[in-house]
């Protein structure tokens, strides 16, 4: 039936009233995914302690070396092998912060040193406080760099592989499958043998096999998301591939991506330290936590303080990143929590 448009005059319609436009009022402020996650994270004591420790470590790594006047490679044999001595704490005997070595001799008195070395000095008379925080700086730098590169490559690879699917996915997955079968550390060792140890080469060697894990996780997420209605809606409205990937799929996978990065960082710190340990670490004068721990082993029997502080700090960094990673996993996905 054909209807003449002129027949619909305004007086046939009446106003519906305002009640449909009114927003439903609720007593609570609205919450977002990130807000909820943050609230859950704050309730998790372990993760929160981890977060605070990480911030403290980063601040100390930045400002620690500036807190006294010694440079990290200032050598002075007249003050070699000094045990730690800290003002105030030196008066509490059992802490071992009074400059007395394990044979019960006050090295500061014996060597006529009046300064305080908070973590002691090494066999070349370099201040360990400065060296350890400088080393932490390098270790964290390598770890963050490796994690960032893993992130970029992994996210790009994983999302492309999952989004385009079909033959692209097939080929890309075959490559990943082969890389998964290759033992990471062996590739890292071989590459460092060739590239000569340095900050860049160690980072690159770790990234070459490190991104695979991230790629797999992103692929899984994108595969799960790309069939959902909001993606279809966006596509119907004319969104291009790029916008779908960067505007919808990746932002919705951020949770797992952040968690994976959180676990990449301690792994990278460990790998770097491990390399120093088997003789493939950074070369002097650059020092990382790994090389300082390794140096500490040489004097373990007589001067245990050299190993003690560096190994406590590397362990603390690993523990806090693992705690934070666990906490984030629980708070992003409470269903996973046991």
């Amino acid at each position: 039936m054909k209807v003449n448009e002129a027949e619909f005059t305004d007086d046939l319609f009446e106003e519906a009233g305002q009640q449909f436009k009114e927003k439903k009022k609720s007593g609570r402020p609205s919450s977002s995914f990130w807000r909820d996650s943050w609230i859950r994270l704050r309730k998790n004591n372990g993760a929160f302690i981890g977060l605070i420790l990480i911030i403290a470590m980063i601040l100390l790594a930045i400002f620690g070396p500036m807190m006294n006047s010694y440079g990290f490679d200032d050598q002075d044999l007249t003050r070699a092998n000094l045990p730690p001595k800290v003002p105030v704490l030196e008066n509490i005997p059992f802490l071992g912060m009074n400059g007395v070595d394990i044979r019960g001799m006050d090295q500061y008195e014996a060597k006529g040193v009046t300064d305080y070395y908070w973590f002691g000095t090494d066999e070349l008379g370099r201040d360990l406080w400065t060296r350890i925080w400088q080393g932490t700086r390098i270790s964290l730098y390598i770890a963050f760099l490796a994690a960032t590169l893993d992130l970029i490559i992994g996210v790009a690879y994983g999302s492309i592989s999952a989004y385009y699917g079909g033959r692209v996915d097939n080929v890309m997955q075959r490559i990943i499958e082969v890389l998964m079968g290759v033992p990471n550390l062996i590739v890292v060792i071989l590459l460092i043998l060739v590239l000569k140890p340095g900050i860049v080469s160690i980072t690159l060697a770790m990234v070459i096999t490190g991104w695979v894990n991230m790629a797999r996780i992103v692929r899984g997420q994108v595969l799960k998301l790309k069939g959902q209605e909001f993606v279809l809606a966006s596509r119907t409205l004319g969104a291009k591939d790029q916008r779908l990937i960067w505007g919808h799929l990746i932002p919705n996978s951020l949770g797992p991506i952040i968690i994976t990065t959180m676990f990449t960082i301690p792994t990278a710190i460990f790998t770097e330290a491990f390399l120093s340990f088997i003789g493939l670490g950074l070369q002097p004068p650059i020092a990382s936590l790994g090389t300082i721990v390794n140096d500490g082993f040489k004097m373990l029997r007589i001067y245990p303080h050299m190993l003690l502080f560096s190994s406590v700090i590397i362990s603390l960094i690993m523990i806090s990143f693992n705690l934070l990673g666990d906490g984030l996993r629980d708070s992003f996905d409470p269903k996973m929590k046991k």
Partner: protein
């Protein structure tokens, strides 16, 4: 299933070939030569190069190298005056295998125990305690743990020998240092699995039938929770292998890991290549066995997962 096994083995061979090729070309580009000795004349160097086949074109060296690997010949060491790499590996693998197996067994038993206790006493202080131990075990690097053990128990308290390998007592500290990671991984994994399984309806049924709690936990719970444990055996083996490099070095244990580190420091390429290939082979083999075992043990996976994997 047969098709699946064939394709898996095919992958394994391809990956191994890839690693072998990679190893070979990396070694070619390595700086430094084992014969960089100023006391050697040019002629003597030539003789040495000839003897070890280092002056031939790269392509020929590569083909020979691959051929030799198939025959199980990894060449001769530069450092140990012409000893075959295979014999060096053979001589040293025993100690590493004992250490690795000991750590795996001790770690698995302790880890399973911790995990089960934590799951049964869920959200009590026993649970929290077990999980704190697990986080520490995962986080503290093995060389730090080895160093602390060596210093406190070996040097200060003098309860156990500090280094070398001369009987069971010598293996205790390295085993503890190596198994910490295994304990932690196992405990966390087992706890999650056990909580999952204990929430199932068949557990409620078993309890309703009046079976003793011990039997419910061990027979119905543990047996089902154990299945996915196989999946972490692969990563654990790798962690143990890399762990032996460091731990053997610290405790001066004459195993394969210690030899590998020594060879890196002395540029002994054939040994580095040989041991690398050996480690890779073990690693790939373990992954293959784990994948196949998983299908055999749990028929649900063979039917659902196995088919899906073939199509993947």
């Amino acid at each position: 299933m047969k098709k699946y096994i064939v394709s898996r083995v095919g992958y394994m061979i391809f990956t191994f070939l890839l690693i072998a090729t990679f190893t070979f070309f990396l070694m070619q580009t390595l700086p430094g030569s084992p014969f960089n000795d100023e006391r050697l004349t040019e002629v003597q160097k030539q003789v040495l190069y000839e003897r070890y086949g280092l002056n031939e074109p790269m392509a020929i060296q590569y083909v020979k190298y691959l051929g030799n690997i198939v025959k199980g010949d990894f060449g001769v060491s530069f450092q140990f005056d012409g000893r075959a790499v295979t014999s060096i590996i053979g001589e040293r693998i025993g100690v590493s295998a004992v250490l690795g197996a000991q750590s795996l067994i001790v770690g698995t038993v302790l880890g399973l125990f911790l995990g089960i206790i934590a799951a049964l006493r869920h959200n009590t202080f026993i649970d929290y305690g077990a999980m704190i131990i697990a986080v520490l075990g995962l986080s503290i690097p093995n060389f730090v743990l080895a160093g602390l053990l060596q210093y406190w128990i070996g040097v200060r308290l003098q309860w156990l020998p500090v280094a070398f390998w001369d009987g069971f007592a010598y293996s205790i500290l390295p085993t503890i240092a190596l198994s910490a990671f295994v304990v932690a991984t196992m405990a966390r994994f087992m706890r999650t699995e056990m909580l999952d399984v204990l929430g199932n309806e068949y557990i409620t049924t078993a309890r309703a039938k009046g079976i003793s709690e011990l039997k419910v936990v061990l027979k119905h719970g543990l047996r089902n929770a154990m299945i996915p444990i196989i999946t972490i055996l692969g990563p654990l083996t790798v962690a143990l292998m890399t762990g032996t490099l460091v731990v053997e070095k610290i405790f001066s244990v004459p195993g394969l890991g210690e030899q590998f580190v020594k060879s890196i420091l002395t540029n002994d390429y054939p040994v580095i290549m040989g041991v690398t290939l050996f480690y890779s082979f073990l690693f790939i083999l373990v992954i293959l066995i784990v994948d196949l075992l998983y299908g055999v043990i749990d028929p649900r996976i063979r039917l659902a997962g196995g088919g899906q994997r073939e199509g993947k």
